[in-house]
C-alpha cells in the first residue's frame, strides 16, 4: 500500500512537472531559443512623440528577443492617474513605465520604482558599450533617490522654446521672433489675426507653461526649493508674471484657449491655425516635420527672457521598472534596447527624433545640420537650454507635494484668463491654497 502511494505520488509529481514545463513560457530554452521567449512585458508611457515613434520599432525588439510586448500610450493625465494607482499598490501590471517628471518626488521617494544602478553595474546585464554616463547629467540628476541611485533612464529632455508657424507674417511686420518678454506683446499685436491666424497659444497645463514667465519676472513657486517649500505665489513679481502671461492668452489666443491640451496646441501649430507658442521643443519642432503644413514658414527661438533672466522650463521623463514587476531583468533589457545609441540614432535619422538625452548623438555634426530648419539652429537652442537648466531653477518641480501646487497654478491662471479674478486675487488664492495643501501633506513651513 505504501509503495503504491509512493508510486502514485511519483507519477503525479512527474505529470505535474511535465505539465508545468509544457506551459508557454515555462519550458526550458531549447538550443537557439530567443532569450525572452514566453515573457510578456507590459510597458506604458504617456502619449508623446518619442513613445509613439518607439512603437514602430517594438516589433524589432519582439523579433530579436522573443518577448511579447503590450504597449500603451494614454494621454498625460490619464497615464499619471493610472500609473500612480498601479505603482502605489505595488501592482505587477506593468514592467516598464515612464517616470513622470512631476511625480519623481513621489514615485522615486516612496520606492515605487527600482534603483537601476545594480542593473547598470552588472556587465552580464549591461555591456560597457551602452555607456550610462553618456546621458546628460542634467537629465539624470532628478531621477536619483535619497541614496543617490538612479531610478530611471531619461528618454527626453523636454525643453521649452519659442516657435512660430507663420514666421513669414512676423517678418512681413518687420519683426523677428521675440527674445524678451517685452518684445512679445509688440510682435503679437502686429501679427494677431493676420491671415485669420491668432497670435499666441500654450497648452492648458499652466503649472508647466507658466513658471518660465514667473521665474523670468523674478518670482518662483517656493522660496528656496527643495529646502524651503514656503510658496511665494503672491509676491509682486508673481502677480506681474501672472497678469502678463494671462494677458497674452486673453488678447492673442484663439477662442476657448483655456481648453487646449498639448496635442491640440501641436495640431494648431502644425496646421497654421495659431502663429506663436512657447512650448516644448518636441512639440514645436513638429512644425518642421512631414505632416505639417507650415514647414516652409515656421521659425524657432529660445524661450524669451524676462527682466530677471531666461528660465526656459526643462523637464525630463525616463523609463523605470516598477517595484511590483515580475519581469525586472526583461524590463531592463527593454530599457537598454530602447535607450541604446543605436536605436536613438536610427530614430533621429529615420524620423527626425530630436529631444535626445545622449550627448554622443546631440554632438554629431549631422544632428546639428538636420536640426537646422529654415535657417534656425534648433540643436544649438536645445543644448543652450539644457545647459541653462543646470543652474538648478527647476528644483521646484520634483518635490513630492508639487502636484498639489501645480493644480493651484492651473486654477489661478484659468481664473485670470476667464476674467473670473484679477491677477492679484487669483495669485493670493493660489498662495493660500498652496500653503494649506502643503501643510496637509506634512510639509513644515
Amino acid at each position: 500500500m505504501r509503495g503504491t502511494i509512493r508510486r502514485r505520488q511519483v507519477l503525479a509529481a512527474g505529470t505535474t512537472a511535465a505539465g508545468l514545463l509544457a506551459l508557454p513560457g515555462k519550458a526550458p530554452a531549447a538550443g537557439g531559443a530567443k532569450p525572452l521567449s514566453g515573457v510578456t512585458l507590459n510597458i506604458s508611457c504617456w502619449s508623446a512623440p518619442y513613445p509613439l515613434l518607439l512603437a514602430k520599432y517594438i516589433p524589432e525588439f519582439e523579433a530579436e528577443t522573443g518577448a511579447r510586448v503590450i504597449y500603451t500610450t494614454p494621454s498625460f493625465p490619464i497615464y499619471n492617474q493610472r500609473m500612480g494607482l498601479a505603482l502605489a499598490t505595488k501592482s505587477d501590471a506593468y514592467d516598464v513605465v515612464n517616470v513622470t517628471f512631476i511625480f519623481i518626488g513621489q514615485w522615486v521617494g516612496a520606492g515605487w520604482v527600482m534603483p537601476l544602478d545594480p542593473f547598470i553595474a552588472d556587465p552580464a546585464r549591461t555591456p560597457a558599450s551602452w555607456d550610462a554616463k553618456d546621458f546628460f547629467p542634467g537629465t539624470t540628476t532628478a531621477f536619483r533617490n535619497a541614496q543617490g541611485q538612479l531610478c530611471a533612464i531619461p528618454w527626453i529632455a523636454d525643453v521649452m522654446m519659442g516657435g512660430a508657424s507663420r514666421y513669414d507674417l512676423i517678418r512681413k511686420a518687420g519683426l523677428g521672433l521675440p527674445d524678451t518678454f517685452a518684445e512679445m506683446p509688440k510682435m503679437l499685436a502686429a501679427v494677431n489675426g493676420k491671415d485669420g491666424v491668432p497670435g499666441f497659444l500654450t497648452e492648458n497645463h499652466y503649472g508647466w507653461t507658466f513658471p518660465g514667465y514667473l521665474q523670468g519676472f523674478g518670482g518662483n513657486i517656493f522660496r528656496n526649493p527643495p529646502h524651503d517649500l514656503m510658496p511665494v505665489l503672491d509676491t509682486p513679481a508673481a502677480v506681474e508674471a501672472a497678469g502678463f502671461f494671462s494677458d497674452l492668452l486673453r488678447k492673442y489666443a484663439p477662442r476657448g484657449a483655456l481648453s487646449y491640451t498639448y496635442d491640440e496646441v501641436v495640431a494648431a501649430l502644425k496646421s497654421g491655425k495659431v502663429n506663436y507658442a512657447t512650448e516644448n521643443e518636441a512639440f514645436v519642432t513638429q512644425m518642421a516635420q512631414p505632416g505639417s503644413t507650415v514647414t516652409e514658414t515656421c521659425g524657432f527661438s529660445l524661450f524669451p527672457a524676462g527682466p530677471a533672466g531666461r528660465f526656459p522650463q526643462v523637464a525630463t521623463h525616463g523609463w523605470g521598472i516598477p517595484a511590483g514587476s515580475r519581469n525586472k531583468d526583461a524590463a531592463w533589457q527593454f530599457i537598454t534596447w530602447a535607450m541604446s545609441q543605436k536605436l536613438l540614432l536610427r530614430m533621429f535619422r529615420e524620423h527626425g527624433w530630436s529631444s535626445v538625452t545622449r550627448r554622443s548623438i546631440v554632438e554629431l555634426p549631422e544632428f546639428r545640420s538636420k536640426l537646422t530648419f529654415n535657417g534656425f539652429d534648433v540643436a544649438k537652442m536645445y543644448l543652450d537650454t539644457v545647459e541653462l537648466a543646470a543652474k538648478g531653477y527647476m528644483a521646484y518641480r520634483t518635490v513630492p507635494p508639487y502636484p498639489q501646487v501645480d493644480r493651484q497654478i492651473d486654477i489661478a491662471i484659468q481664473g485670470i484668463v476667464s476674467g473670473e479674478k484679477t491677477a492679484q486675487q487669483a495669485m493670493a488664492a493660489a498662495q493660500r491654497n498652496s500653503i494649506a495643501q502643503l501643510r496637509r501633506a506634512g510639509v513644515k513651513l
Binding site: L87, R255, G256, A268, P400, R407, V417, S418, R440
Partner: protein, 300 residues
C-alpha cells in the same frame, strides 16, 4: 393540527432562511464589505505614499473636519446642487413636454420616440466628445454657422459664467429621454374615462394637463426625478472631457473634487470621506423623495 401547522411554518421559515443565505452572503461581500471598508478608510489618513497610514486611527474625524470646515468641499457641494437643480429641472420639463407631444399611437410617432432615445443609449464618453466638438469654436459646426452670420460668441466651456450651464445642457440632451420614456409609459397606461369626462366638462388643454394627466403621471415622474437626481450627482465624463473642473474651479463638482483629491494628490482617506458624505447625502435625498413620492398619490 395546530402543532403540525406550527412545525410547518418553522420548517418554512428555516427553508427561506437557508435559501436566502447565499444571496445575503453575496450581498455582504459585494456591497456591504466595500461600503464598510470605505467608511473605515475615511477614518484614516490613508495615502499610498505612507504605507502604514491605512491603520492610523489616531484622528478618526480629521478627514471630515477637513471636508466640512477647511477644503473646497462646500464649494463643490454648492456647485453640485446648482448642476443637479438645472439638469433635473430641465430634464423634467423637457421630458414631460416631449412625452405629451409624442403621446399618440401613430407609426410616425413611434419612430420619432425611438429617435429621441438615441442620446440616452450612447456611451457617456461619446456624448462628451460630441459636445466637446460642438463647444470648440475651431471645429464646431454651430460656431461655423454663427460665424457665417457674422457672430463670434466666446467659448462656453472656458467661460466662468457659461461653463456649468454648458455642461447642464449636454447632460440634459443626454438624459431627458429617460424622463420622457417614464412619463410616456405612464401616459399610455392612463384610462380614457377621466380624459373624456374632463373634455365633456369643457376643460382647457392646460386644465386637462394640470388636473387630470399630471396627478396620474406624478408617481412615475417622482421616480424619474429621483433616478435623475441620484444620477446627476454621478456626473463625471462630461466634466472630465469638457472642462476638467475649470475654468478655475467653476465646474469642480463634488465627485470631480473627490477624484482630484484621491487620484491626483493621493489623499485616499480624504477621498473616502468625501465619498462617504456623498453616499449619506444621496441616501437622505432618496429617503426624502421616496417619502414625497409615497404621499403624492393620496394627496392627489
Amino acid at each position: 393540527m395546530a402543532a403540525g401547522s406550527t412545525a410547518w411554518s418553522i420548517e418554512q421559515r428555516r427553508a427561506f432562511t437557508v435559501g436566502l443565505v447565499p444571496a445575503l452572503v453575496v450581498l455582504a461581500v459585494v456591497t456591504l464589505g466595500p461600503a464598510i471598508y470605505l467608511v473605515v478608510t475615511s477614518l484614516t489618513p490613508l495615502t499610498p505614499i505612507h504605507p502604514g497610514s491605512g491603520l492610523d486611527f489616531s484622528t478618526p474625524f480629521a478627514n471630515y473636519r477637513q471636508a466640512l470646515f477647511t477644503g473646497s468641499f462646500d464649494h463643490s457641494v454648492w456647485l453640485q446642487c446648482e448642476l443637479s437643480a438645472i439638469t433635473v429641472g430641465l430634464q423634467t420639463l423637457l421630458g414631460v413636454a416631449v412625452a405629451l407631444l409624442l403621446n399618440s399611437e401613430s407609426g410616425f410617432m413611434r419612430a420619432v420616440r425611438t429617435g429621441f432615445l438615441v442620446p440616452m443609449v450612447l456611451p457617456p464618453i461619446v456624448v462628451a466628445i460630441i459636445w466637446k466638438i460642438l463647444y470648440t469654436p475651431d471645429v464646431s459646426p454651430v460656431y461655423a454657422m454663427l460665424g457665417a452670420f457674422g457672430l463670434r460668441p466666446g467659448a462656453l466651456i472656458t467661460s466662468p459664467v457659461w461653463a456649468l450651464p454648458a455642461i447642464a445642457l449636454a447632460d440634459t440632451w443626454e438624459w431627458f429621454p429617460f424622463t420622457m420614456l417614464m412619463v410616456l409609459a405612464a401616459l399610455q397606461m392612463m384610462p380614457n374615462e377621466p380624459i373624456e369626462a374632463a373634455r365633456i366638462d369643457g376643460a382647457s388643454a392646460w386644465q386637462m394637463f394640470w388636473y387630470v394627466r399630471l396627478p396620474f403621471i406624478r408617481p412615475a415622474l417622482m421616480v424619474a426625478v429621483l433616478f435623475r437626481l441620484i444620477d446627476s450627482i454621478k456626473a463625471f465624463p462630461l466634466i472630465y472631457v469638457l472642462t476638467n473642473g475649470g475654468p478655475g474651479q467653476v465646474t469642480e463638482v463634488t465627485n470631480y473634487y473627490a477624484f482630484i483629491q484621491t487620484f491626483n494628490f493621493a489623499y485616499w482617506g480624504y477621498g473616502a470621506a468625501i465619498a462617504t458624505l456623498m453616499v449619506a447625502g444621496v441616501f437622505a435625498l432618496s429617503l426624502l423623495l421616496a417619502r414625497l413620492g409615497a404621499v403624492a398619490p393620496d394627496d392627489a
